[in-house]
């Protein structure tokens, strides 16, 4: 992609668009808005491919970071976020994630699920509010009427647990 090969962009899109869209739709919640953001995410990846630094993580982690940032920006910039959601449910790993062995992905998904399930509920809530709702520790503390220190500790310990728990899988993403 760094060489501006549109075929590479197409392959990159085919491989990761579902995961990126899943992340964006979870945050934006409106399917049409999420599709607009998704297009911008891959456009940004295309534009910034030459600046991608492999030592800073795998391409999918880089892409999902862009996806999360753009989705949160879209919500904060006033894009409509409905009280209803168009985020549908399925826990199935799509075999169409070409290039990724679905059995490997399913195994990783199980590992992540088990790691998250071991989190205490307050930690998980705080993590989800930060990561998927784009709320800062101060905002979360205020929303949950908890001291900032408590909230910081929940997020820190929750993240630390995830890191340790996922360590054997060598950072699945």
């Amino acid at each position: 992609m760094a060489a501006k090969d549109s075929g590479a962009l197409e392959a990159f899109y085919d491989r990761y668009h579902r995961l990126a869209f899943t992340m964006v739709l979870r945050i934006v919640r409106i399917r049409q808005d999420a599709e607009d953001v998704l297009s911008d995410v891959f456009w940004q990846a295309w534009q910034q491919a030459s600046r991608y630094d492999a030592s800073r993580g795998k391409p999918i982690a880089w892409l999902l970071t862009i996806a999360r940032t753009r989705a949160i920006d879209a919500v904060r910039s006033g894009s409509r976020r409905a009280t209803d959601t168009e985020f549908d449910n399925t826990t199935a790993v799509q075999p169409a994630e070409r290039g990724n062995d679905p059995f490997v992905l399913a195994g990783l998904q199980r590992a992540v699920r088990q790691c998250l399930e071991k989190l205490a509920e307050p930690q998980r809530v705080a993590l989800e509010m930060a990561y998927f709702e784009g709320m800062s520790q101060t905002e979360i503390a205020k929303a949950l009427n908890q001291p900032l220190g408590t909230m910081k500790d929940r997020i820190r310990s929750g993240m630390m647990h995830l890191r340790k728990c996922l360590k054997p899988y060598e950072a699945p993403l």
């Binding site: 800073r56 993580g57 982690a61 549908d88 399925t90 992905l105 995830l162």
Partner: protein
Amino acid sequence: MKHQQLTEELQERALLYAAGALDEQEHAEYSRHLAEDDCAVCKAEALESEAAAVSMAMLLPQQTPSASVKRQLMARVGVRDEPRRTSFGWTAWFGWAAAAAAAVLAVVLLNWNSGLREEVQSLNARVAELESQVGEQQTRLAVLMDPATRTVNLAGLGSTPQARGRIYWNEPARQWQVSVIDLPAVPADRTYELWFVPAAGNPVRAEIFNTDANGSAMFTLPVPPQIGVLKAAAVTIEPAGGSDLPTTTAFNLLGTME
């Protein structure tokens, strides 16, 4: 400033950064530090934390965008599905009559080509629409098939005893898929409102909706992480736009979490 060794404070900052929990100014400063200070200690810490945070996305039920997103993206980078051009290889000259015939033929073929192009565009749009519908149906079906999904039945009460509903609740994904039948549509100045009823505290607004001419409605909604333990779900009739708290105790649908 480069750090020589990892401290608890640096580790905490990396973890909060990766979770997206730093306040705006802290986030900007830490992002700058990672980008400009060439601090291997913090880069490594942030990288490992980011990988853990991003992995949370793996648990989300996968969604499929419509095919038009890819087409628009590829068009944006300059790759277009050009329609095949029809080539007229007339090289011989057969006089005025032949030229006139060729002109007529060209007009006919161009019109035909134009018609075909419109038809292809129309069919492409239809295919994209159907792909999107199939994707949505597949994800709905997957909810029903998911062992993690539990079912909550809603029973009609009050003025709508015949009404029925069902909530497919995927707790790990914090999602409700709601289906309602035999619930008469309300006029434009009213709305149905679905409520989360927590074990403690007031009902929390979940969704407003109306039913179609058949008395049916189907929608999905997230269950907010801070909602806590739920004891029931209820539907009331509220003024258009919905209410922050129920204005009536006359439930139209009620279901308890068992």
